[in-house]
């Protein structure tokens, strides 16, 4: 997905001379194409993420559209106050590109796991948050948001898996309902759509009709789409590779509470700090119950509870 994102960025930079790319000394084998084509609009600022966000703010004030690139944890947490008092406070079109969503950086360990980035960015009312589900949606998102006047956070996963059901669509503030079902709604954040779709496939022969929705943006958030979906089912499970609080699960809980909906919610997410637990992404997803099988088990257990 990183490569798709950067390819789209190169295409955008061809059309839009305002586009500048800053990197905090990351992006080996990803950013070279941009750097070679636009050497005057590419800056490796060194391992200094706070200054990177400040420089981007100064560039944006003068009319540029800077994209700042780093691993999601370093792009969001280290310079958080710079993001808030820079592009957000000034209402400037800085794009924060955080690579590696959730547990993507498996063997690298906790310092590289972006598990609260969506919560941090979503908390800022004017920060558009974009979590592409697959490479095609990442491409569409770069195009669709090119003229957004305020800042955007892009959570760009390392995975290249396609979600064909999504057809590369991206509409800020909308959820994509990929599948209808009346028994339970599975609502996934970005690339976790694959887990939800596979879980729905496993539930179907068991007589459970699962709706599947994918959420790829906040601020604007797909409040109406999710409220409409949840009005039609008695139960929902959110699926996100993120800490349990502050991300998609919290958003859906807010929608349920604020709309007074009669729906039970389970949140599949990471519930503890992954301390001294590195490993492959697949191992970590299994450990934290973020697999289609685990979602199916949760759904069945909850439905049984609901019927008893």
């Amino acid at each position: 997905m990183r490569s798709a994102f950067i390819q789209s960025l190169v295409a955008l930079a061809e059309r839009d001379p305002r586009v500048v790319l800053l990197t905090g000394d990351l992006g080996f084998t990803v950013i070279e194409d941009f750097a070679e084509r636009f050497p005057n609009r590419f800056f490796n600022v060194g391992v200094a993420e706070q200054n990177m966000l400040g420089v981007a703010t100064g560039l944006a004030e003068a009319g540029y559209v800077p994209f700042v690139y780093s691993i999601a944890t370093f792009a969001t947490m280290r310079p958080y106050e710079f993001i808030r008092n820079g592009p957000l406070l000034h209402g400037l079109p800085v794009r924060v590109v955080g690579v590696g969503s959730g547990l993507d950086y498996g063997p690298n360990g906790i310092t590289h796991y972006a598990l609260e980035d969506v919560a941090l960015m979503r908390a800022q009312p004017e920060m558009m948050v974009v979590v592409p589900a697959d490479p095609d949606q990442a491409r569409a998102a770069v195009v669709a948001t090119a003229d957004v006047r305020g800042p955007i956070y892009f959570r760009v996963g390392k995975g290249a898996q396609s979600i064909p059901e999504l057809g590369g669509r991206f509409s800020p503030g909308r959820a994509d309902i990929l599948r209808e079902g009346r028994d339970i709604a599975l609502i996934a954040l970005g690339p976790a759509a694959r887990i939800a779709l596979d879980a729905a496939d496993l539930l179907a022969p068991l007589g459970v009709e699962a709706a599947v929705a994918v959420v790829s943006s906040f601020n604007p958030s797909p409040t109406e789409d999710i409220a409409g979906l949840l009005d039609r089912v008695p139960m929902a499970i959110t699926v996100e590779v993120h800490y349990v609080n502050g991300g998609l699960g919290s958003f859906v809980a807010e929608v349920i509470a604020e709309h007074g909906l009669d729906v039970r919610l389970l949140r599949s997410a990471v519930h503890e700090m992954p301390r001294a637990r590195s490993g492959s992404q697949q191992y970590l997803l299994e450990h934290y119950g973020l697999t289609s099988r685990a979602v199916v088990d949760s759904a069945l257990a909850s439905l049984a509870l609901d019927n008893s």
Binding site: V55, G58, E61, A62, Y64
Partner: protein, 262 residues
């Protein structure tokens, strides 16, 4: 005289609003008088090619409001709203106010904005310049040194940092809290073109700021200042970082300024 006018605004408005940061504001009155008295080039506050000024030590915003009022950018009516409910003029500057280029208030951010602004000017082939006023204690912030390295590496000679070196910070003297010396040597070691000047000598400030070369290094003017300058009972006193004035203190302070003017 511009500096005295700024100082009177600082005293009058902070008295009316009953707020502090008076000493930090008085410290930079002469620096702002030099900048707005002839150094800064701008056709209007929203001219895209104007020189940029970033008050990175945002807690001295009232001094900047005073300067902008003195040159007619901030109206008297707007100035009179300082710290009132709903006013855009608080104790830290926000960019929505006429003449304020960047919002500040959290130390250590302004120089990075300045680096971006200076880089943008170069990319746009503009000869506009960027001035950033930082406090000496602000140099405690690690992020500031990221910006110092960036500016030197990219040879941003259109960028000038002015360090208000009054030797004080909120709870003590800088030498006792986190010693910055040799401050001059530290900036020089990072590749900056360093100048030291009496921060209350407007002529020296103006000539230094006007004669910076467009070589290949960013400039820093280390302005030796006195915290609370112009009001004898505030000068070099830690407590005047936060205290507001009593009625008697205000009258004494104004009388001192008027005596100096005469």
């Amino acid at each position: 005289m511009l500096a005295t006018k700024i100082r009177k605004t600082i005293l009058t408005q902070s008295k009316r609003a009953n707020v502090g940061h008076i000493g930090s504001c008085l410290s930079i009155a002469d620096i702002l008088a030099a900048l707005y008295g002839g150094v800064l080039r701008f056709a209007s506050p929203d001219d895209e090619d104007r020189d940029r000024l970033i008050l990175s030590k945002g807690h001295a915003a009232l001094a900047l409001f005073g300067a902008l009022n003195a040159i007619g950018v901030i109206t008297d009516d707007l100035l009179e709203t300082f710290c009132s409910d709903g006013s855009p003029l608080g104790t830290h500057p926000e960019h929505v106010v006429p003449g304020i280029d960047f919002s500040t208030g959290s130390l250590g951010l302004g120089l990075s904005f300045g680096c971006g602004a200076a880089l943008a000017a170069r990319m746009q082939n503009s000869d506009r310049r960027v001035f950033v006023i930082v406090s000496d204690a602000e140099c405690n912030e690690g992020a500031l040194w990221e910006s110092v390295m960036f500016a030197a590496h990219h040879r941003l000679s259109n960028l000038t940092a002015i360090v208000d070196m009054n030797g004080q910070q909120a709870l003590g003297y800088t030498r006792d809290v986190l010693d910055l010396s040799p401050l001059e040597g530290r900036w020089r070691a990072f590749g900056w073109d360093v100048h030291c000047v009496d921060g209350h000598d407007r002529v020296a400030l103006e000539s230094t700021l006007s004669e910076l070369d467009d070589g290949d290094a960013p400039h820093v003017v280390i302005a030796k200042t006195t915290f609370g300058k112009g009001v004898s009972f505030m000068e070099s006193q830690i407590s005047w970082h936060y205290w507001p004035m009593t009625d008697d203190q205000f009258l004494t302070a104004i009388a001192e300024l008027e005596a100096q003017e005469a």
